[in-house]
């Protein structure tokens, strides 16, 4: 920890920005089910459909971190290395934000970015077709993931993916992925 890091200002920033949930560390299956459970209790009571979508996007982002983070931690319980990263859910007046952040190898940055740009360029019908096509495509041999998580997040949120990359060192970047979920408009 650098000496100008202040727990107080970190916490205050989260208070001011109405952070509902934040976590940094190894995203294990057990931890994910506990975090998701608490998130569900908090968000479902407002609007069940929004609550379910927050839950769904949170799970997809978390499992991306678990599977794809370049930073791994060995889990005894799961008997395999699992991804380390940062998860954040916060609330604003008119929307919710669900974000993940983790390390990524620089050679993967271009592919991830291109995929996000492509998904963001599709309208609702093309997105549905792309989702179905990718779900039909053979399972990737190098990953147990379904390769449709990013598409699913855009379909659930009706908003584009906000993806950003920041240099960490020579061969690693930090990726942040943020999904915005609009609250239903209240008519006066």
């Amino acid at each position: 920890m650098e000496k100008d890091f202040k727990v107080y200002s970190f916490y205050k920033q989260m208070q001011v920005n109405s952070v509902i949930l934040s976590f940094k560390g190894a995203v294990s299956q057990d931890l994910l089910s506990r975090l998701a459970g608490s998130l569900k209790k908090k968000s479902l009571k407002d609007d069940p459909n929004i609550g379910r979508r927050i839950f769904s996007i949170f799970i997809e982002l978390s499992q991306n971190v678990h599977l794809h983070s370049a930073e791994k931690s060995y889990s005894l319980a799961e008997d395999r290395p699992i991804g380390v990263g940062f998860l954040l859910v916060s609330e604003a007046e008119d929307c919710y934000w669900v974000s993940s952040s983790n390390l990524v190898k620089k050679e993967k940055v271009e592919h991830i970015n291109n995929r996000c740009v492509h998904i963001n360029s599709l309208d609702e019908e093309s997105l549905k077709a792309f989702y179905k096509e990718q779900r039909r495509a053979p399972q990737r041999t190098d990953s147990p993931g379904a390769n449709i998580g990013l598409i699913e997040m855009v379909r659930k949120s009706n908003n584009p993916l906000d993806v950003q990359f920041f240099d960490m060192d020579n061969d690693t970047s930090i990726i942040t992925l943020t999904v915005k979920l609009n609250k239903p408009k209240i008519l006066n």
């Binding site: 997809e60 179905k132 039909r136 379904a146």
Partner: protein, 120 residues
């Protein structure tokens, strides 16, 4: 198989042909988790001409599970087309859950099976 909060409850009845999967499914490694389910199903379907009712009563599943469900539907479709099976899929969704209804509709577009979309 009894479910936990990220593992569905699976109840396959050999005698009645009523197969049911319910609850939540967001295991990170669904290929491993669903393997025994596929093994059971493939063995069960080695016998031709069965009448099967497959009930899906899910409240949530992740995209990884979504692939496994499509694989189950493909197996059922093949059984119906090639082994004289009679398959009915009942896709249950909570009545206010528009996304779960849409997911059922999208599966029914992707395979040639009798699909009932049932609110509860």
């Amino acid at each position: 198989m009894a479910g936990e909060n990220y593992i569905p409850t699976v109840d396959f009845n050999y005698d009645t042909g009523i197969l049911e999967i319910s609850g939540e499914s967001y295991h990170e490694y669904t290929i491993e988790f669903y393997q025994p389910i596929f093994d059971w199903l493939n063995k069960y379907l080695s016998e031709p001409n069965r009448t099967i009712t497959f009930n899906f009563r899910m409240t949530y599943y992740n995209t990884s599970t979504s692939r496994r469900f499509l694989e189950i539907f493909d197996i059922l479709e093949e059984y119906q087309n090639e082994k004289g099976g009679k398959v009915t899929v009942n896709w249950y969704y909570q009545k206010d859950d528009v996304d779960m209804l849409e997911s059922g509709e999208e599966y029914s577009e992707d395979v040639d099976l009798t699909f009932n979309l049932l609110p509860y």
